[in-house]
């Protein structure tokens, strides 16, 4: 009996210490917590809509109708798919341009304090311009189809990329620069083997922020520039004006999902290329 007990204790200890990679235990709080909040949210929604005056209730359709009358409706579904595809194109092209251009600008500015001091204030100013105020101008120049939407996306997404890349490139400690100076390493090589890898955690942070913004940029662009195919922004506007609550919400949910996917994509990349070696988690 006693021996049995002792054995049990030892076996239990062995079970605790033995596995190198501990089995993932069911994370009760991590799963049940958000589920509970989601349940509460739905309850509030169902209840809350009853507080609205009847003629306004189209704004908050019962959630299940978003699926039956929104995503469930074949025409609505096809329109949302087409609009989403268009926004994906605008967001990807816009973000791509912002990444290439933004990193180029940051790298150039990192080469000299004079350049940085001369140009940086204007990028801050660019960031500060409310996009609404210049959207008519953009339309006059680029028209009202796809290219102004891409332009708006670039303007919205480029600043976080410039700022984070520059911050990362500038943040390389002197000790590392000394090390490379000792071995006679030139500007270009230093950039590629030292500065860019050292800046990569910060650069990826910029990518993630801008990825989320790219979707916003594409959708804001839809609302302003209405020629050609409709994006989600225009679709929301149209459905809402026709009092089609479920279809409106189907668009909103799709847009939110799109933003999450963009953000998630760069989070995964960061995990793969940066988090494996980076000591400070962000």
């Amino acid at each position: 009996m006693t021996t049995q007990l002792v054995n049990d204790i030892f076996i239990e200890q062995a079970a605790v210490t033995a596995p190198q990679t501990p089995k993932k235990r069911f994370d009760a709080i991590g799963v049940l917590g958000p589920l509970t909040v989601f349940g509460l949210f739905l309850a509030l929604w169902y209840g809350g809509r009853l507080l609205l005056k009847p003629y306004k209730r189209f704004v908050l359709p019962p959630p299940h109708r978003i699926f039956t009358q929104g995503f469930g409706d074949k025409i609505v579904r096809e329109k949302i798919l087409a609009a989403t595809w268009l926004d994906v194109q605008v967001a990807v092209v816009g973000l791509g341009i912002a990444i290439i251009l933004g990193m180029f600008i940051a790298i150039v500015m990192a080469q000299s304090r004079t350049l940085e001091r001369s140009f940086y204030p204007y990028f801050v100013a660019l960031q500060a311009i409310p996009i609404l105020t210049i959207s008519p101008l953009i339309g006059s120049i680029l028209g009202y189809a796809k290219s102004p939407r891409i332009f708006v996306t670039v303007i919205i997404t480029i600043f976080p990329i410039i700022a984070n890349t520059l911050f990362g490139l500038r943040g390389v400690e002197d000790g590392y620069h000394d090390l490379f100076t000792l071995h006679g390493v030139g500007r270009w090589r230093r950039l590629l083997t030292l500065q860019l890898p050292a800046a990569s955690p910060s650069i990826f942070t910029g990518f993630r922020i801008s990825a989320g913004l790219a979707v916003i940029g594409a959708i804001v662009g839809d609302v302003f520039y209405r020629q050609g195919d409709a994006g989600l922004g225009l679709l929301v506007d149209v459905y809402n004006s026709r009092l089609r609550g479920p279809a409106t919400w189907a668009c909103i949910i799709t847009a939110a999902a799109l933003g999450l996917i963009f953000f998630g994509f760069f989070s995964v990349l960061k995990g793969k290329f940066v988090d494996v070696w980076n000591e400070t988690k962000s």
Binding site: G175, Y176, D178, L179, F180, T181, L182, H183, G184, V185, R189, T193, L194, P197, A198, S200, V274, V276, W277, N278, E279
Partner: protein, 287 residues
């Protein structure tokens, strides 16, 4: 190997002549430092914080300009180990050790081989694919040493490499560094704040004064290489560390004066010869 006698026969790999450094803000960091280090010699410099010890190494390597005097050294054959291991965190141990050979555009096969040899030498075999974040402070320092070893420099500059490492690991790294020195016979110039470390490792110990840094004393350390940890507990070792300590006390004099401390240097006498501890000091502290 008997360093003191060999020293005169081998031409120095590193020579400082009347070296001075004045920073743009007027700080006089180093004043007329003259000494040389030959291959197979290991010289330690010990002195108050901020006395210009690191500046001396930076001038030797070319990282900092010199204000006066001359330095004679082959800049293409310098190994420089910083207090911080300065490993690139995004590279594995293997890739970090390969860095210098890679920067000097050695053939790919050589790079791999040199790195593998150096990793084996510092005892990091099996850790090649680890990232620096998963290494202890001592292991990072070993990787840093290995990185410098790949190019087999004739002159090795160490700027307090073990300053941030616990004493037990530090003693072990001291022994390993001493073995590397015996094996490669480079000219070593080592900055430290630890008297015991300086005496254990060195053929000579130089004491530098507070700013402006001058070499005020020089001690020969007569122990044969390879040395063992046990020499740290011999009377001879205690005598030399005592002497260095006295000289260091003097090095701090200007600082003590600034704080109004009038106490004079407590001199130790050699229990064997009865000589006064600081007898080895250079006449007038270099001129």
């Amino acid at each position: 190997m008997s360093p003191p006698s060999v020293k005169s026969a081998v031409p120095p790999a590193l020579t400082f002549s009347d070296l001075s450094k004045v920073f743009p803000d007027g700080t006089h960091a180093v004043e007329e430092a003259s000494f040389s280090v030959s291959p197979g010699e290991f010289v330690s410099i010990i002195g108050p914080s901020g006395c210009g010890k690191s500046t001396l190494l930076k001038m030797a390597s070319g990282l900092t300009d010199i204000s006066g005097g001359t330095i004679d050294v082959d800049r293409n054959s310098i190994g420089y180990v910083f207090q911080d291991a300065t490993l690139l965190p995004w590279r594995t141990v293997q890739k970090n050790v390969e860095l210098f050979a890679e920067l000097h555009k050695r053939p790919a096969g050589d790079i791999k081989r040199l790195a593998a040899e150096a990793i084996e030498l510092v005892g990091l075999k099996g850790f090649e694919n680890k990232y620096p974040k998963s290494l202890s402070g001592g292991m990072k320092m070993r990787a840093s040493l290995a990185r410098s070893l790949t190019l087999s420099p004739k002159v090795f500059l160490f700027d307090e490499p073990f300053g941030a490492i616990d004493e037990i690991t530090r003693d072990r790294l001291n022994t390993e560094l001493m073995q590397l020195f015996v094996r490669n016979k480079f000219a070593g110039l080592f900055i430290t704040h630890s008297i015991s470390e300086a005496v254990y490792l060195s053929t000579r110990v130089l004491v530098m004064s507070a700013r402006p840094g001058r070499i005020i004393a020089e001690f020969e350390v007569p122990f044969e290489y390879p040395r063992t940890q046990s020499i740290r507990y011999t009377p001879e070792f205690a005598v030399i560390t005592g002497q260095v300590n006295d000289a260091l006390h003097e090095a701090y004099a200007p600082i003590r004066k600034a704080f109004g401390d009038t106490q004079t240097s407590g001199q130790t006498t050699d229990p064997i010869t009865g000589r006064l501890g600081a007898s080895n000091r250079l006449p007038g502290g270099k001129r």
